[in-house]
Amino acid sequence: MSEPIIRLVNISKDYDGTEALKNINLYIRKNEFLTLLGPSGCGKTTTLRIIAGFEQPDSGEVYFEGKNITNLPPYKRKVNTVFQRYALFPHMNVAENIAFGLKIKKMDKKTIDRKVAEMLELVNLKGFEKRYVDSLSGGQQQRVAIARALVNEPEVLLLDEPLGALDLKLRKGMQIELKKIHKYLGITFVYVTHDQEEALTMSDTIVVMKDGTIQQIGTPEMIYNEPKNSFVADFIGESNIVPGRMIKDSLVYFAEREFKCVDSGFNHNEEVDVVVRPEDIKLVPEDQGMLQGRVESVTFKGVHYEMMVRSAGYEWMIHSTVMEPVGSRVGLSIMPNDIHIMKKVSTE
């Protein structure tokens, strides 16, 4: 494990009385692709803006390579930002936009031209040098924004929902491209998004945030397979979340019966949240199921069918490639290690 390049220590931030960030502690390792993930208003963009220097935290410190940069203005920081709405300079052409940072560093024209050409090649925009930015499509503008930031060879690239304004197909393409660029350049990316799928696809580390606090930090697999609480489980992919009670280690009561599970360390009869992913519930003949129910609705989703099954007083969402028609009686079967037990979160 390499040393952290950025450390946020006890960061808090207030906007006119509402707490945007509550005592955030986070470190970002060199060369990793870290994603700040959460619903809008969770503080992910504020966190990014504090790293960039556009916002000052009310309390707490920001460290960059061990040095305290909390009060350093943005133009002195070794990070560059790709903005949500690109924020290209409308009075300059593509080449001038990309060269902006280099010209400020007073590089000679030859070096600038070479670097701009390299960057345009990297983002697949060769031949666009003289075009004005308003004549470009959203995807092309985004590439210019990325090139404009990367040409300065930042230690850390900050990306604020850079793909938010693009359509689905373009977004998928850009995700792959960004990942490639990250690998090729070997620098640290800090990426903000509310799109959980995007986060899972691209990241080395995901930081799930909610209401100005960090809910969980981990690899995409960890976050998906072992969500720390029902919020994370619900936000990352779809989940069935029902209340339950721990009988003893590896035995939980929910949906009117006992289930074997793999979690331990809870108190006897502790109230818990039980999370089961829709793809982890198997449809079996009614008499072989742990739960019995009736199919209420079926939606075709492309790769799989999404079925809602009413059983034991709950609607269970089930993903399966095999379809059971509406109204049929089915059995549900859940394997012990597909049952995730979570401490109840205090009500919101």
Partner: protein, 274 residues
Amino acid sequence: MKRTWYSYPYIVWMAIFIVVPFLLLLFYSFTVSTDEGIKFTLDHIKRLWDPIYLMVLLRSINLAIICTVICLVIGYPVGLILASKEYSSKKVLALLFVIPMWINFLLRTYAWMTLLEKGGLVYTILEFLHIPNSQLLYTDQAVVLGMVYNFLPFMVLPIYSVLTKLDKSIVEAAEDLGANYITVLRRVIIPLSLPGVISGITMVFMPAVTTFIISRLLGGGHYILVGNLIEQQFMVVGDWNFGSAISFVLMVIILISMGVLRKYDEGHEGGAIW
């Protein structure tokens, strides 16, 4: 459904108060009535070539330029301050700039007369501070002061409105790329606010070059700017032909200078008022 008829009252209004007077002006500028009837002539325009009149014209343009430059130098920073984060939420300062415009133009100018005259407030303060001030009222400086005071809001407001519309993330992007405030101002904010600057210049220069009230009140009875000259021809001398000719030439000069400014602004986006 066609709604064009909504604009008819305005078209009629424009026809009566803009097009007709303009045609009259053209008519008087280029005609002379003799015993044999009305004839086309360039004499009125040629008369303006007299050094006395040229001097008046040059002085007017000179003062108007000085006034415009001062307004720009004061107005741009004010626009910046008004549009900045700290003030944009509070409209107080912006209001302070607008409130004087609610008061009659003549009253405001008369007020300056009382302030500047011998024994007036400014005079007394300067005397108290032992600053030599033999004459304040009825000077070029007084006229420029009056023009700047009256026309400054016309410079500030278009600049302010362009600056508030400026995307803040563009400024942040420039800072992010290593530009300090001066560089951001020079490379991003000023170039992007040019349309506002140009409409500000237009809106100050045009009334400044044609003013005759300010020059009469603060410049004294013998102080002649081109506005006064035109007024005299119509109201005192009764030579409508020459008055129209001066107006026509002035209009051409203004149109040409605005055309040049507009050319310079080409390629930038709107925000200009005309």
